[in-house]
Symmetry: D2
Subunit: 462 residues, 4 copies
């Protein structure tokens, strides 16, 4: 049961399906940087290329040319420290009874441990700890045609999934009945495309049609595209954190523009928690739009007081001797000239452990900031996510056991204020009951009975 | 159904189990150069390291240090062009229902296709095309304790296997009831070792105890070592080609020294097919001992007229323009000074396609050899092997459709003679009925009903 | 004669000299991404590590540990297509007459070709096409002690250089008499540090002391630090383009804060070229501060309408089929929701060839921008730089042969305006006569008699 | 002053010059395994490819295709531990005053240190510690046309060199006046080829013409091939160790077949030092021909009692715990069945440090050899070589300070005997005064005044 936020992309019926998938993954790279993969089919034969690293590292012209066919699915996987092995790269492909079966999955299945135990008891052998392999085993044991097998298998899953399933000849996109993760349908040159976010359509100039609905299964084959509503009567639970932090600002998801939602969060934040100051600065890039909203509503000048180093590698070597604030300054260095003697509102999208914020604020103070007022564009994060975002456990979340005043002291700022739940929900483009806010409220829309750690399956170094 | 000749090695109960396995594989490298792997257990946790290439390329000090435990199994795999993917590296390891299960296999299962179809029909999903994975699926579906599960699974297999099976706490070595492939038991510092050939014991100074018997299963765990005769009444069918070509000359297998057997083959060859000549030369290194036998019996001086280049890499680049005999001279260059004007007996261990022999003999003639008399230390190879050696198909075997005289003309020598089946069997250290001679006679000791090509399972580029 | 803008960093007298240099180069990475190198000395022995790629790729913990000593120099080199070979990595090190001699150079020597011809005529053999090697040959042929040799050699050079020279025991930092490139002196824990920009001091918490003066040579050895004014009476010619584009916004160079200068450029731009509009947007990241200045002066709201993809690799694979605007959208994608129906002021730091700007503006129009008003925070770039920035030749500079109106049409915007030379100079923190503005005016402060192409020296593939 | 035995190869005037050079180096790989390189010219432009490792590792089809032209020189370099850096790969190429100049060198210059000091004093800067670079600097400082410059430079060198020099349009092969190292001239398809040994001609089916004479310089250009005798009246000093050990048995050098010479050495050894025994065995592969000679003369049967592992990698990992004789058994394992209870004559080509021999003989004894009689096919090695073979220093040579009886005890054999100097010289194909026997006698034909260690130039890790 690995928690991960990932990105998925698929094309059905385009002669450049592989290249479009490559570009789609490029645009979705922010959803996962650990590994990437593409699986393609020409209707007869399935080819795959997968590897650890960024899309730009995994794929070469040669590897793309090895992938053949007019439909393809792709996946980028989020880096979760400790569990990253090359075996867990998606999409996951097996050869089963003479056909190929491939799955790309974004989300997290909360009853994965129990389903796996049941399957193993009847002799199924797992290669990985991925939910996508679980789905493949369920499909292999199900009855009926391809579409029926997949739907029967999805019905056994509890939790979050936006999923693409493929054989040599068929292609299917599905979304869990709660709709935790986004999934969009689009068109390009008469072909269908599916993507986690619309920014992937922008890049290839595909036209966004609509979100795939919660509980909807869209099936593509040589005869066309058919949609099924596989579930009914479930409450929608769109992940509100996609709008706050995870999605790209140039995407539209869950009914609205991410950039606009974030500016609205900033406006509401300014309305709820005003403070006299000389400038509003974001922690780039994720806090930028909320900071713009805050500045606009408050009338306080917006400034870019942190400079981002665009050449941070994966393997920064810490010096033997401690240098103050090094680990945060290497990424974002404050412009001392702008800060000195000023009263500053710093806008952050969220605070998780609080460690980085604390270090970051110290670098501002060292530059001579007179006052620092931290404003956070969502309420305190108090509960882990079981639906596909890799949050720390409760004990690691700074807000789960501390008051705002305690956090303020810990981070070392003059004032600290979080946006209220109401202010957050008001900024959303859909009614508030449509969103999952479990990480703020602890009210989990799907019960999490099965907290078996993924670690017990993971003692195989590769 | 991949045909491969491989080498396996295991240690049970030695604190340097991993290092000994590394050395054992080093000594068995002639049995497979495509890939290598070691799986170790400390009684609680299984660790593995596997890779494409030679033992010296796959393992580094760092990788060996990651392998922990006092028992271990290892495997070297033969390079069979076309089907070599990193997925097929052995030993094969799965995590299944909370335990680790690993298999290293040498041989070939002739009913693998049928067993696989049966398993897939009940929902089993295969990751590879290897017989070792097949065995693992059978074990997962079997009832009883570890030992019983393995024996029940082995009983479903038809064909050739010398096999090592391991969990976190248990270790098992088994050999098929016909005993096609060799498997030896030895001791070192109180621990047990198992190896395809005794040359692996020599290197680490282990003491050879005895061959594991055909149909024997030896089981090791914390309480000691127990042997079971799992099968009874099957005819022994030791692979005679191990003595002729495959095994290392410094090994003892199937009752005797390989070097001595080969010298005896040469003596019998000289007895059956004498010819007046000035010198006897081997095609090194495999023909050396038979040539020494021939020279000794005939009294004709032995000479080393081919010089071996020890630095042949994997990737020799052929020039655009054809140079006569280049592909054979790059490996073995004749010493013109020794050959010119001489009548030469060339001793080869065997002739497969005949192409290389033909080119090789041309290089001798270009050096001015007066007469060339080719002598082969086994009978004509006419039939493919289904028990674990990667021979070409019948149509590619030069002797399957041609008389000796036709082969002689094709190879371009003055005389050509093969050792008789009787002369071959007489040289063996065990009675002739103990050996499988199917590649010479076509009499297959285990029926091969199931010739499903491995290719149908192999359309997944990695 | 390679034109390159590079970054240099040096430490004298600190036990963590190597680690500090590594961090310094990390902070200066924007000045060169092609290669990186560090050379260190412990007073007796010089060690080096150099490689192609980013600082984070070239250095590992192991490689840093191989570098020993309490003084060190480092270099990052700019990627100039076509001439990038591993031989040209700096710092350049030779063993000469029993001592080590190393040079790191930022700038460009305009009489390099003539000096090289002269040296070759007397038997000197060059390994590279780098100015740093030229300096080493001059030092080897000069008379006197180390300091005298270096000063005598520098006096033969014409053009731009900020340079670090090192032996086992000595260390020297020098700047050409015109001071084209920046070079700062700082202190940390009693040791001296030298860097192209102050942002490198920020990261390691070194204290900036002052800029090394034009024509100044600072010499460090066991007895301390001595400064010499090696030249007199030359006009200062600080590169104005460092302020406009090249330097990091959090640096202080040539008398002032880069971020503040850029905001001032934006303010002057708004003053000179106002236009009614709904929003001001930068082309990030280089246009951000000028856009903030423009927005602040004009009162038009600032918006972040381009989203930057932070995961652009080196090797983006272009699809076979052309997709409109792909090459620019992959880096910066416009947020359609913000743009549609709006009148937009786009602020760019400069326009070189105009191709990218043109493509970028098309992506804005495709998002439905009503009007686009492009504002450039410097005058038209009409002339190549011979002092260390890799500009294209005159014919490739879009402004060298076109009127502003012609450029406007080419780029396809509603209005286009450049900042005036006066507006640019007014924003600078020093009097206008201190700056080199040759790329705008064609008035080169050091004559460029010697335009021998570097290509004639570069026919050696490696 | 690096001592190295290397191999060189060149082609002038063949459209497949690069491919032939690749093959020539392949055949000369025994002369050097550390690095390889080829430099080619099409008359206008010089291209190079060089790398660490075997010929098969350094060159790919792609790299060969980058090399263009109808003449080419190549080099393989011997692995001398400690001084192997990528900078020292040959052939060495510089761009000098508008032309390319490349040198490939086999041998060792004894006055290299003095020449280098002189050149550095006048400002020359060296990149490497190679004699080939020294020659290039001398050429750069010499007067006259290409041929005159090279001859004038060669005249300043003292010691051993077989050398190839090349520019875009010219090609020259030279040999020192003593002729220490071999160098052959041959023809193929009307073109000229030059190689260290004739085995390189065999592979490509070039016709050997003759050895290039000591002191001869052969010059090739568009107008043809001209020979000059650049020196006169020097005593010939052919390296006798080439015949004993270094050259390939299928080569002809210094007047005769290497294989035949070695058989003759074995015959003389049997004549001088007979012993009753059951078998004669070589230490393969270098002792094989002498062992055949010994067996033939003595009438004792020849046997192959050591089995060579052909898959020894570069990086054998020694286990933590000592296993007896492991480091020698991993390469050559004795066949116990052949040895047990036997009286054995072991023929070695030479004994250097004695360590390996000692370990090797222990493995024989552990196999139960009754008596071991070691016979060495040359006299005791007592003195280092300064002419291009990487022998240890005197103190490391086991025979320099020990009697034969002391060595016998150290190695642990029943008897030990060396071939006499007379027996050695008698086996040679040319009169004894033509050979350098300094390593046996200490009589150095060229005085070695200049023993400056190469180490003083080598403190640059790369």
């Amino acid at each position: 049961m690995i928690r991960h936020c990932c990105g998925i992309f698929g094309v059905f019926g385009h002669r450049n399906a592989v290249e479009l998938t490559y570009l789609g993954l490029y645009a979705l790279q922010h959803r996962g940087q650990e590994s990437a993969g593409i699986i393609a089919s020409d209707g007869k034969r399935v080819t795959q290329w997968r590897g650890m690293g960024l899309v730009s590292e995994v794929f070469t012209r040669e590897s793309l040319q090895k992938l053949k066919g007019d439909f393809a699915i792709g996946h980028v996987r989020y880096s979760t420290t400790g569990s990253s092995t090359s075996k867990n790269i998606q999409p996951f492909l097996v050869e089963y009874a003479g056909t190929s079966l491939a799955v790309a999955h974004n989300g997290n299945i909360v009853n994965a441990g129990l389903l796996r135990q049941k399957l193993e008891a009847s002799g199924s052998i797992f290669q990985t700890t991925m939910d996508s392999e679980l789905l493949i085993h369920l499909i292999a044991k199900s009855q009926g045609n391809f579409k029926e097998k997949v739907i029967r298998s999805l019905k056994q899953l509890q939790g979050a999934y936006s999923v693409l399933v493929m054989t040599e000849k068929q292609f299917l996109a599905g979304r869990d009945p709660h709709g935790f993760r986004p999934l969009w349908l689009g068109r390009i040159d008469g072909a269908f495309v599916v993507a986690s976010e619309t920014c992937a359509f922008d890049l290839i100039q595909a036209k966004p049609l609509r979100e795939i609905l919660p509980g909807e299964v869209v099936f593509f084959d040589a005869r066309g595209c058919h949609s099924y509503q596989a579930f009914s009567g479930r409450k929608h639970s769109f992940c509100i954190f996609e709008h706050i932090y995870f999605a790209r600002p140039d995407s539209n998801i869950f009914g609205g523009s991410v950039a606009r939602v974030r500016e609205k969060l900033g406006i509401n934040l300014a309305r709820e928690h005003p403070v006299p100051a000389d400038m509003v600065i974001p922690v780039p890039d994720s806090g930028t739009y909320a900071a713009l909203g805050y500045a606009r509503h408050s009338g306080i000048p917006f400034e870019m007081a942190f400079v981002r180093n665009h050449y941070i590698g994966r393997t920064f070597i810490h010096p033997a001797e401690e240098i103050r604030g090094l680990e945060v300054k290497i990424k974002l260095n404050p412009v001392a000239e702008l800060i000195q003697g000023k009263r500053i509102v710093v806008v952050e999208d969220s605070i998780v452990r609080g460690t980085t914020s604390s270090l970051r604020m110290k670098t501002l103070k060292n530059c001579g900031a007179r006052e620092i007022h931290m404003r956070v564009s969502c309420p305190p994060l108090c509960h882990p996510c079981f639906y596909g975002i890799d949050f720390p456990t409760e004990t690691e979340l700074v807000a789960s056991t501390r008051t705002v005043e305690q956090i303020r002291k810990r981070i070392g700022v003059d004032t600290l204020a979080y946006l209220s739940p109401e202010g957050m929900l008001e900024a959303m483009p859909l009614p508030s009951e449509k969103f999952c806010t479990a990480c703020f409220t602890g009210k989990y829309p799907v019960p999490v009975r099965d907290r078996i750690s993924k670690l017990q399956f993971e003692n195989q170094p590769e």
